[in-house]
Point group: C2
Chain length 435, copies 2
Amino acid sequence: MNKQKATISLGLLGLGTVGSGTLELIRRNGADITRKTGVKIHTTGALVRTLDKQRPISADNDLKLTTNADDILNDPNIDIIVELIGGINPAKEYITRALQNGKHVVTANKDLLAQHGYELFNIAKENNRSIYYEASVGGGIPLIRPLKNCLAANKIENLMGIINGTTNYILTQMTKYEKEFAVALKEAQEAGFAEADPSSDLEGRDAAYKLSILASLAFNSRVDINDVHTESIKGISVRDIMYAKQLNFVIKLLAIGEETENGLALRVHPTLVPNNHPLASVQNEFNALFLTGDAVGEVMFYGKGAGSFPTASAVVADIMEAVRKISGQVQNGNIETTFDTKPIISMEEQTSRFYLRLKANDQSGVFGRVATALGDENVSLDMILQNQRSDGRAEIVLITHDTKEENFYRALDKIKSLDSISTINNVIRVLERGN
Amino acid sequence: MNKQKATISLGLLGLGTVGSGTLELIRRNGADITRKTGVKIHTTGALVRTLDKQRPISADNDLKLTTNADDILNDPNIDIIVELIGGINPAKEYITRALQNGKHVVTANKDLLAQHGYELFNIAKENNRSIYYEASVGGGIPLIRPLKNCLAANKIENLMGIINGTTNYILTQMTKYEKEFAVALKEAQEAGFAEADPSSDLEGRDAAYKLSILASLAFNSRVDINDVHTESIKGISVRDIMYAKQLNFVIKLLAIGEETENGLALRVHPTLVPNNHPLASVQNEFNALFLTGDAVGEVMFYGKGAGSFPTASAVVADIMEAVRKISGQVQNGNIETTFDTKPIISMEEQTSRFYLRLKANDQSGVFGRVATALGDENVSLDMILQNQRSDGRAEIVLITHDTKEENFYRALDKIKSLDSISTINNVIRVLERGN
């Protein structure tokens, strides 16, 4: 154990949005942070891409900017590395070298942790150092530590998260102002809530990375990113949103993890969420994680999942945790909880409720034929809507009870082949209605 | 530091609802708990009131029941005491003796912590032992640890909680089914959501105890229970709830803490909460804490605030934390965050929005006179309703903008003295409408 130090030194890798927020937050609340940790935190150096960029924080002469990672990674005075450059390379190499050089690591890098987390955690263990990653999921919302500690006595049965701000912003705008997807996307890009290349967000990959981190903690099991089934929100139209509204649902991109007798079910897809569910009121760029533990019952964590200061809030909390560890107040900050490798349930074997919107050529007997196709696969119906039409044809909206995915899709194939059906407009999963 | 032990022994004080839940949870999830902590947790003994009561847990021969606290407190094999008897005496003496005998303490006792917390934390410090109290507020919802750790980099600006399940259940039933208070209370008692003597819940004292614990952590300052202004929900009628609904509000008992330039403002009172606020959808026995940090922004924690297993979830998480400390994984579980004694702002100096319901004898010119009385005290109006009447007189509902409490009450005195006003039916504070 190290001796108590009066000052602990940070090295930042990356000085973008979150890096600047981290610096600013340590400065602004530095006095209280020192009182809480018992030591002064000093940011010694920061790795940047170019030195000649105008920066709001350049006023501080204390902070050495460098374009050479070695200046940070090899500096023996630096105790903690804060990795905020993102991506796999060179972040992975930097974190590895930092751990090998005896530094603790704080990171917000979900892609890296989801893909190479176990390797890096092992390197940390070998070097008796810790990796802190509260900021990797849900920005400033406390999620990682609650899962590791506060809810540790529970067997987590399932978790459902709105953990991608971009898609939630777009879906909220579509719902509120009846805008079509393309319009809402464009406006989200202009408002800074969607990137120029938004595909990782829209397709659910970003949420899948985060889900794999959360699920590995919640279910104490290794989760590979490829174990997560993902679906895009691109196919959602205002028409679906309006039908959902009529049936008292709102459409959200949910990341869902469940532990069943047969293993883990992991998926990210657009979902009809009942209006009375706490997740239904999570709007715009806000995130939320809703989970069920066998003891605690239903719990939800809500807040901003991204942004400079919300993310810095988690980064600095992690820095403080690392500081406490270095100064001897905490000896093992990283609690090992991923001791299993549980089987993964394929999507076909999972159960869901389904929303199905389709167009019929003619009305007579079409219900019967659709219902028969579903019934033949043991899919039963919960709700039926037919009160809206377009271009002279009847539009039908159905919501099924819980059914195995493969049964529903077999029935859907039959429905597609019916003469009386002209188009299958959309298929969206539906969350079970709460009490 | 103690050496790693293969088994750590618990002594329970109290084997009621939460005690039984705690035992059951440790048994049910014992294998995973052992994997997470690295040691086996064994419940050695439990203090009970009487030995001849039928208990579901008596099947376990391992657990020694006793009516003599000394058997637990003086047992050198017991490492952790779990205090679940509640109240001040003899819980305070037991906890003191346990700490002095070198045992760590886990407690769910909010009354004791709110009134004697500092004294007990000091005794813990002197004896190099810790008190864990996640279960004292919000049942199983992680609140204490997130405030101490996850949000530690933030200056918390304000917090608002629905932290009393009984009153939230009653208000929800009144809102949903338009039941009057007395009816809803009686049904809550029958359903087990209100005690035979519900006064501590109804008057806001229970919430005030919890608020004082949360506020001391959030604002890093000592808070005395007498610093918290409390008001009862008894005066709320279905009529108020219906008017609130018409104006897009729902009435909740909120515990509110704010840090301003002049100090801390602390209060518990019924409040009109805008429908679009995340707290508005917290129903029945559920609790939630909504807070704003200078970095993280708005965050909310939601779940069941009471009950056997939800509370046991927090108790066992604390036990696991204590176990980690004993087995040398964590050296200082209790982080000192209450380093200030900030001034308290009197209720008169605080600002609020107000809902005012009153009955006018005649309609002509009454608005003008009421508005003048308010305007003279610089209280401006946001909303006015007059579309409902009873017994021939006009009923008027007003909602003001933010105003100092003392200004509003001075204006109210003037309004009371107006000839044209027959009754002031109710005055309820109103939460600022969000975006």
